[in-house]
């Protein structure tokens, strides 16, 4: 699904990723954990294709395609989804318009008919109910005046609609209380199937109690310094980054 080999990336001439290798197979859930400044968010942005992040070495392939050659929207339509740590507010664009435009961009890319407003509303209502999202949120401008929890629910709603092959969750747990965390985790888990993969990027073990990973990697100083199973997250929780990977502290 995702093959990252010896990936090096810099921003403003500063090297942040210093040789990251990671392989995620279909149906797998991986977690990348790491202290602040370890390169976690940079990795998610490099995967999604944000401007300003320059790949200086190595490779990153998604479903066999070289991601570095693809625009962010091409990556999205190929089945990649980044749930943002800080979802953007977009005044003047209602959430419904945003969601429908996004979904139709995907449908068009797949050669399917675009959904009309009525057909779309039916589809989105089913998803919002499952995620405990009030219909009122759909009428409001994207993320404007949303609480932290609502913004993250909106991210998961987008994911549920776009049904990506690989979802990258960047610090999705930040700013969430326990109830919101459960709703978000349920939404992510509902999409898990043998053909879809998930990459959870987080500082804390907390989220991994709800989205249980198959593999856990510790990112420190721009490299993956240790990999293991779900138990690695528990070890981190017990002993801290300094205890598990002294070089990271």
């Amino acid at each position: 699904m995702l093959e990252i080999e010896d990936l090096r990336a810099e921003i403003d001439g500063k090297e942040i990723l210093k040789g990251v290798s990671l392989s995620i197979g279909p149906g797998e859930t991986h977690a990348i954990m790491g202290p602040n400044g370890s390169g976690k968010s940079t990795l998610s942005y490099v995967i999604a294709g944000r401007d300003g992040y320059e790949i200086t070495g190595g490779s990153i392939r998604f479903l066999g395609e070289d991601l570095a050659e693809m625009e962010p929207e091409e990556r999205a339509r190929a089945g990649l989804f980044l749930a943002f740590q800080y979802p953007l507010e977009i005044p003047g664009v209602t959430t419904t318009t945003f969601l429908r435009t996004a979904l139709n961009a995907h449908r068009k890319a797949r050669g399917e008919d675009e959904l009309d407003p009525m057909g779309f509303i039916k589809l989105v209502r089913a998803k919002t109910r499952a995620l405990g999202i009030a219909d009122d949120m759909l009428k409001r401008p994207v993320n404007v005046g949303f609480s932290g929890g609502e913004k993250k629910r909106n991210e998961v709603l987008q994911m549920a609609l776009l049904e990506p092959r690989l979802a990258v969750l960047d610090e999705t747990d930040s700013g969430l209380d326990i109830d919101a965390l459960k709703v978000v985790a349920d939404g992510v888990n509902a999409l898990r199937d043998p053909q879809r993969s998930t990459l959870v990027i987080t500082h804390y073990q907390r989220l991994l109690g709800y989205i249980v990973p198959d593999h856990v990697h510790i990112l420190a100083g721009g490299r993956i310094v240790r990999s293991g199973g779900a138990e690695l997250a528990e070890e981190l929780e017990a002993r801290g980054y300094a205890g598990v990977v002294p070089e990271a502290a």
Binding site: A48, G49, R50, D51, E71, P72, E73, R75, A76, R77, F81, L82, F84, P87, L88, I90, P91, G92, V93, T97, F98, T101, A102, A105, H106, A109, P141, Q158, L162
Partner: protein, 449 residues
Amino acid sequence: MATNATMTVEEPAAIAAGRAAFRADGPGGAAAARLRQQGLDRFTALGLPTRRTEAWRYTDLRDVARTAWTLAPAAVDPAQAAPWLADTDADRRLVLVNGRFRPDLSTPDLPGVTATPLDGLLADGDGAAAAVLDEALTSGERPFLALNTAFLDGGLVVRLAPGATVGRLEIVCLTLPGGDAPAMSHPRLIIEAGDGADATLVERHVGPAGPILTTPVLQITVGAGARLGHYKLQREGGETSHLATVLVQVARDAVYDGFMLSTGGAVARTEVAAVLTGRGGECRLSGTYLGRGRQVLDTTTVVRHAVPDCRSRQVIKGVLDDQARGVFQGRIEVARDAQRTDGYQMNRALLLSPQAEIDSKPELEIFADDVKCSHGATAGELDAEALFYLRSRGLDAERARALLIEAFVVEVLDEIADDAVRQHFTEIVTDWLAADRADHGATAERGAA
């Protein structure tokens, strides 16, 4: 060595031509002749503004000054005017061609509406009409209002009956030159909404592509308890200089809901001076300007709170592409007695090209102590993070840009209270955005090829 060099300033071509075209006598009898002469004297005293004139610092009129303008013909064949009226509502319109009211192109006998040619009123010795024009001439330093008065020809007085619910009424100002020579027209309108009247006015300015100077002056009074929606649409040709003055008086408990959409012309300025003269009055003065190429679009406003307990609100948003320039000068004045004034003003500009420019000068002048006034101005490019967010959801870059631009500007159209007008203006805005996009798409493809 002399430190002060003596310079001989050559008279601009526009002034020489204007002097040659001037004739005090004409329609409207002695009163009109007197007004025209006073208009010329006033214009001569004020002179053509340059960028050294504070009120005109940001708007360059050198092209206007160096052009030898001729008067657009008074008589125009209705068949020539017809194509320009295609977008208008034939059942609810009043039409001026080259400043002259055209009953043959206008809807007769609209309920609650009395439309009378201004020159007719002046010729009949209507002292009130002359007084309104006199008041405007001495009200401030407005050279193009003076010029408009100097070439007073025809004009229109629209009276809305007290208590009448008039609905939508379109006023169309069309300039049609007689030939290829640069032509000027000077439309003059007096609009009086009687006490308790309720009306929605759509003011359209249209005209062909050649060099045109137009100086529309509207004097509007909104009577006690009346509501007047006034929605101006400026979509003239690419070589038009549109230098408009709007003077508004809002009486007790009246609502003036003004909005300006400006997309046309080479230089287009609307200067609005609104005065709240009665308690409980409300003045809304919003708008949007969409500029590309080398257009200069100027919105200059003064809202004066002369009495207590009035509200004013202004939201002006602009989108500027290419080398277009926007100017926003907005002043809120609060007189010493105007306690409990509630004033709000916001100007936001979106710059789509590195060469586009906005000059914004918001001012507050407050002499009362118990007031709530705020103003602000922002200018910037599209938010790169928001663009990335949309693209990361599968929208291509062009679609994402279009969505963000549209979101930015369409929001301001919510200021228009009238649904039908808002929808109409929204269509014009989205058409403009699509055309701009198509143009840049073509440029990008040429660049890539």
